[in-house]
């Protein structure tokens, strides 16, 4: 394992200390329980957005705390959901009296820990609503399983709901917006190499030199199938086809596109992927209203990318364009 760390046990704490020191204007980092709070929270009268999940996906979620996005984030250990006491403390600290929204990716651990926290929060009389993100079409959905994973749509929901909350939208509106964005989004990812969890000290999986893992999760969980490596253009087709099918997108539709890097894939390759993707969408007659290209929801140093499409409309585009000022995403402010 080759990492710039001191001790696998303290990577999260040390990295957060660095984040806090780098961005005192944006956020504050708390330990025990561990959470990251927007510098000017609580904002009275504003719906508060709280998210969280395992660490190792930076900048998500801690890098999305700030104006126009999250009020607080709860980072768990690497790839491990946070505990209820973290979520409880973050929720209380972020609460501005207008209600709190938990943005939760649909992983069993995240769901249970946020649920337990919501039960505890309820005792304090804070009204908490949940937006559950489950946009990963790599995973067969079924009533009898844990359902789909939450991936790329998380970033979009946090941006868009963050903009709505910043603009003063009430709790119910923020929640229904988040649910609508999640439903109108679909994602699929691919890995070219594994990540290495610091505590495990060895790669989570092995891929041969000519293999890639299609439908990879953001924790190195195996996906749909292992297939042979192929040109970017074909990879894009394999990723986007199930997304198009899932959202039933076609001629005349427009989308917000998110090409996400998993960590080790160079930005130049992500733009190259975006180039192939826009060609494909052009062929389909689908317009791109906005796009985001970069490593925003990573899986440590995994090589690969994911594609997320969100069916867009004027409201979503104007929320997208609204100012955001966080360590990981910033414009207009």
């Amino acid at each position: 394992m080759k990492k710039l760390i001191n001790d696998p046990e303290s990577v999260v704490a040390e990295s957060l200390a660095g984040l806090g020191a780098a961005h005192p204007d944006l956020l504050r980092v708390f330990e025990d329980p561990r959470y990251v709070l927007r510098a000017d929270a609580p904002r009275p009268g504003k719906v508060a957005l709280v998210s969280g999940g395992g660490s190792g996906h930076e900048p998500m979620h801690t890098g999305f705390v700030g104006l126009g996005m999250l009020d607080a984030a709860c980072p768990g250990e690497v790839f491990t959901s946070p505990t209820p006491d973290q979520v409880l403390a973050a929720t209380k600290a972020a609460n501005g009296g207008a209600g709190v929204v938990h943005i939760v990716k649909n992983y069993t651990g995240d769901v249970m820990n946020f649920e337990m926290a919501a039960d505890l929060v309820a005792e304090d009389g804070i009204s908490v609503n949940q937006i559950l993100i489950d946009d990963d079409v790599a995973v067969e959905d079924s009533l009898y399983t844990a359902g789909r994973r939450g991936v790329g749509a998380t970033v979009l929901v946090e941006k868009l709901c963050g903009a709505a909350a910043e603009a003063g939208a009430p709790l119910a509106e923020v929640v229904s917006l988040g649910k609508r964005v999640n439903e109108a989004s679909a994602s699929m990812g691919v890995a070219l190499s594994s990540c290495t969890v610091p505590a495990a000290a060895k790669p989570t999986f092995e891929l041969a030199d000519d293999e890639m893992e299609l439908g990879i999760g953001i924790h190195g969980e195996p996906g749909r199938e292992r297939v042979s490596l192929r040109p970017a253009r074909e990879v894009v087709d394999m990723l986007v086809q199930p997304v198009l099918d899932d959202l039933a997108l076609g001629r005349g539709d427009s989308v917000i596109v998110f090409v996400n890097g998993m960590g080790a894939t160079p930005l130049s390759e992500l733009y190259l992927v975006f180039n192939d993707l826009r060609a494909r969408l052009g062929t389909e007659g689908i317009a791109i209203s906005r796009c985001l290209v970069g490593p925003y929801m990573t899986a440590l140093e995994m090589a690969g990318c994911s594609i997320t499409l969100l069916r867009s409309d004027d409201q979503l585009v104007s929320l997208w364009d609204a100012p955001v000022r966080t360590a990981g995403l910033r414009w207009g402010a």
């Binding site: 329980p33 395992g54 768990g76 250990e77 690497v78 790839f79 491990t80 959901s81 946070p82 505990t83 209820p84 006491d85 992983y107 069993t108 651990g109 249970m112 820990n113 649920e115 337990m116 790599a138 995973v139 067969e140 009898y144 399983t145 844990a146 994973r149 969890v197 505590a199 495990a200 989570t204 999986f205 999760g217 924790h219 190195g220 969980e221 195996p222 996906g223």
Partner: protein, 213 residues
């Protein structure tokens, strides 16, 4: 071996479980890497070390108190799926035995059954979903059978532990329908569920705690 389960047995159980998790940490993580995200051993080990630190610092007044501490500590240090689930298990034991200092064989089984039910309520997994619930229920079945027969004999917990291990083993061919492994669909078959393997360690520690008396 006496018929009662007391604070000392409970402490030995938890200690033995913590040791077993520490010793099998890498193995549990490897099981999780195959069909999950490779953190189960690390998660449980972090939690059980925190539990031992907590128990070392404060002595528990009774079994209810002790298991509540274990459960709360797991909930607040493990995270992931296993944190709430093992946390819920021990919190339920604590709830089942308020102010108790010793338990009869029947009380022990009934507390265990309530804890298993709490885990199922929390995670909504059914038998055969390839989760820790499979090992928990296999142990419960064997336990009920044993108590229904010659009842409460000194070998009961060994039989229960063996059943938990067998229950974990039987998750191998299954296709996961809950938890992270379910994302794998058919590809999850052929691997043992890590949470079930941890349950086997937990029940073996329970048996050892009593044999050691």
């Amino acid at each position: 071996m006496s018929d009662t389960f007391d604070l000392q047995s409970a402490y030995r159980w938890i200690e033995g479980f913590a040791e077993a998790v520490g010793a099998h940490k890498e193995e549990l993580t490897d099981l999780d890497a195959a069909i999950g995200d490779g953190d189960h051993g690390t998660n449980m080990d972090r939690g059980m070390r925190a539990v031992m630190a907590k128990l070392g610092a404060n002595s528990s007044a009774d079994l209810g108190d002790l298991f509540k501490t274990v459960g709360m500590t797991l909930v607040s240090t493990v995270g992931g799926a296993s944190g709430p689930l093992f946390g819920t298990f021990f919190l339920a034991l604590g709830k089942a035995w308020p102010n108790k200092e010793t338990l009869s064989a029947d009380e022990l089984l009934s507390g265990y059954s309530q804890a298993v039910a709490a885990v199922i309520a929390r995670g909504r997994a059914e038998r055969g979903d390839k989760t820790m619930v499979d090992a928990l229920l296999a142990a419960q079945d064997a336990w009920e059978m044993a108590l229904g027969g010659t009842s409460g004999d000194s070998e009961t917990l060994s039989v229960v532990a063996a059943a938990a291990a067998e229950g974990a083993e039987q998750t191998v061919p299954l296709v996961a329908r809950k938890g992270r492994a379910s994302y794998l669909g058919k590809r999850s078959a052929g691997h043992k569920d890590p949470g079930a393997a941890t349950v086997a360690l937990m029940m073996a520690a329970a048996a050892d705690a009593r044999t050691g008396e």
